[in-house]
């Protein structure tokens, strides 16, 4: 028999007591609910005030008075039974009504049917999808591309696939709603910088850098991103991409470029803002665009290096958990790409038309033109607002109605007012397409001048 030291035995005794305490204490399971007493339940029921299922809405709310379009929204659009020239649909290259695109879509419809009835991972991948991805990657001169079936979901799925909690995203204030939803889904720290203000962005980056130097271990696990649009939908101007690239390399931030409006518009061959500025496409980490504007299809794509794009095949929520793009739309997009590649002069034509109408719209009394001279989607904002947003919207509606009665279909830029982070002022959005002739552009400009004169004065 050996001698056991006292301290050891005491320690063992304490440990055995602790085990007994653990064994007999209450074991918590998950989903532990605390039930309310009857009195508390009654109190809560008494306090509750029922809200109406449908909140009171004024009769002239724009969502209740909509215009009805019959037929396709092509160059001539039939609104409320009246034929107008279409200055509202984002059909920049006029491919909506193109015969070749339509016949390619019809052939695909005969071959595949209408829908795919499945996500990409579950028998929803067809050869047209793979072909479209290859063609887009080759067109944009990147390694790989990935297709989404809904344009809004493209950037809203791409951002949360890379940026998680604890990461930092620097984003422009004028970013479109899809980007804002993507940022909200990513749960990252968002730092907004003033629109196109490189000094403000640099200030934010410097602040982040000083914080990183105080805590280098945290900085090593934090990813930093920058989200900008090529051509901003809310303001019609372009981002200063060369300076952004310089800032990217100086502060080690990854760039996500959203090219929905600039794809098929800017650049010599329509490759977007990177071609416009002559920047190497490998400098941009991810380019995302939707095919609903220039390509006249539905859906969106992201392109970049294989290493980056391949990640979205498992982490892109809109890719994995939504049905894939209908094959007829993919075939239509392929045909649209063929047309874009075969006629590279349409981009120059479009930009010339944009310049023409931009010049023609200058000097309207009461309305100011917001947007670059070569932007096909420009805004007309009131020079001085008349008090509240509702009144501005009503005034602009009168201008739009005047134009609509005379045969030019325009629209106001609509926003979810309570959900936008930085709500832009109300405006009329004028969209220029390649199919509009010069007479029509001049007619639109003079009609807008008349409308502004009669309504605003």
């Amino acid at each position: 028999y050996f001698q056991a030291p006292a301290y050891h035995l005491i320690l063992e005794g304490i440990l055995i007591l602790w085990i007994i305490r653990l064994l007999f204490s209450k074991t918590y399971k998950l989903q532990e609910r605390s039930d309310l007493t009857l009195k508390e339940k009654e109190e809560l029921i008494e306090e509750w005030q029922p809200e109406p299922l449908v909140p009171p809405v004024p009769k002239d709310h724009p969502a209740l008075n909509y215009n009805i379009v019959s037929g396709p929204p092509t160059h001539i659009i039939t609104v409320n039974g009246k034929e107008c020239i279409n200055f509202a649909s984002f059909n920049f290259l006029g491919l909506l009504d193109n015969e070749k695109v339509k016949s390619a879509a019809q052939a695909s419809l005969k071959k595949y049917g209408v829908g795919t009835c499945g996500p990409r991972g579950f028998y929803g991948t067809f050869d047209v999808h793979l072909e479209l991805e290859e063609r887009l990657a080759k067109f944009m001169r990147t390694e790989e591309a990935i297709i989404y079936s809904y344009g809004f979901a493209t950037i809203a799925s791409a951002i949360p696939a890379y940026s998680k909690r604890g990461d930092i995203v620097f984003v422009d204030e004028a970013a479109c709603f899809a980007i804002q939803k993507g940022l909200q889904a990513s749960r990252s720290n968002i730092k907004l910088f003033k629109h196109n203000d490189m000094a403000d962005l640099e200030r934010l980056l410097k602040e982040q850098e000083t914080e990183d130097q105080k805590n280098p271990r945290k900085a090593r696990v934090t990813r930093r991103f920058m989200v900008v649009e090529g051509l901003y939908m809310n303001t019609g101007d372009i981002c200063p991409l060369p300076e952004l690239i310089k800032l990217k390399y100086k502060y080690k931030v990854r760039i996500f470029l959203e090219e929905s409006l600039s794809f098929g518009v800017l650049g010599e061959h329509g490759r977007g803002i990177t071609e416009h500025f002559g920047i190497n496409i490998d400098d941009i980490d991810l380019i995302s665009a939707n095919m609903e504007n220039s390509l006249a299809s539905i859906g969106g794509f992201c392109c970049g290096r294989s290493f980056i794009i391949d990640h979205q095949r498992l982490s892109g929520q809109g890719y994995c958990f939504s049905a894939s793009l209908p094959p007829l739309l993919a075939a239509a997009a392929i045909e649209a790409l063929n047309i874009m590649e075969d006629n590279p002069d349409i981009f120059q034509t479009l930009r010339a038309k944009c310049e023409r109408i931009h010049k023609a719209l200058q000097g309207i009394s009461g309305l100011k033109v917001v947007g670059e001279s070569f932007s096909p989607a420009l805004h007309l904002q009131l020079e001085e607002s008349c008090g509240s947003r509702e009144n501005d919207v009503k005034l602009l509606k009168r201008v739009v109605d005047y134009c609509m009665n005379s045969g030019i279909a325009l629209t106001q830029a609509r926003y979810l007012e309570k959900e936008e982070k930085c709500l832009p002022p109300p405006s009329i959005r004028v969209v220029i397409t390649v199919e509009q002739t010069e007479q029509e552009l001049d007619k639109a400009a003079s009609l807008l001048k008349e409308a502004a004169q009669s309504v605003l004065n």
Partner: protein
């Protein structure tokens, strides 16, 4: 083929220690470790038991209290990226059955080890230090605590 494999757990790490048969597998693997150490000819019995205790505690500390996050992507945008596996168990609920099991098993091993090392002081020091290193992080007061900022990010 894939019947019953879909689950709605956002982070499967939280339920690993409640899975069917894992407690038995844990006990058996500690037993196997012990037998392997016993089969080395030049270790005496007290040394083997101390080694079992120390290796068990070391591996437990590394796997439960050092490695953070998940080896797979979770749909909650990396909520548990900075949490160790112990902190992830049962989504942070304290005193659940698997947490109790994992707290009691090093203590049982320590009691056995003290008996088989004949309460030798040198072995006592080593074994007690190892036990404390693995028991302290399991206390509910130490949930999310990073001493001296080690292993914080």
């Amino acid at each position: 083929m894939n019947v019953g494999v879909a689950h709605s757990e956002v982070n499967p790490n939280t339920r690993v220690m409640n899975s069917r048969g894992i407690w038995l597998a844990y006990v058996i693997s500690v037993g196997v470790l012990h037998i392997v150490l016993l089969s080395i000819p030049f270790f005496s019995i007290p040394v083997v038991w101390t080694l079992t205790n120390v290796i068990h505690n070391l591996v437990m500390y590394l796997l439960l209290h050092t490695v953070k996050g998940t080896p797979f992507e979770t749909p909650d945008q990396g909520k548990d990226r900075l949490l160790t596996h112990w902190e992830q168990i049962d989504y942070g609920t304290q005193c659940t059955s698997s947490r109790k099991f994992l707290s009691i098993s090093p203590v049982v091993l320590y009691l056995l080890t003290s008996f088989y090392t004949k309460y030798d002081p040198a072995h006592f020091v080593v074994n007690t230090a190892s036990l404390l290193s693995v028991l302290l992080p399991k206390l509910p007061q130490f949930h999310g605590v990073r001493v001296f900022g080690i292993n914080k990010y």
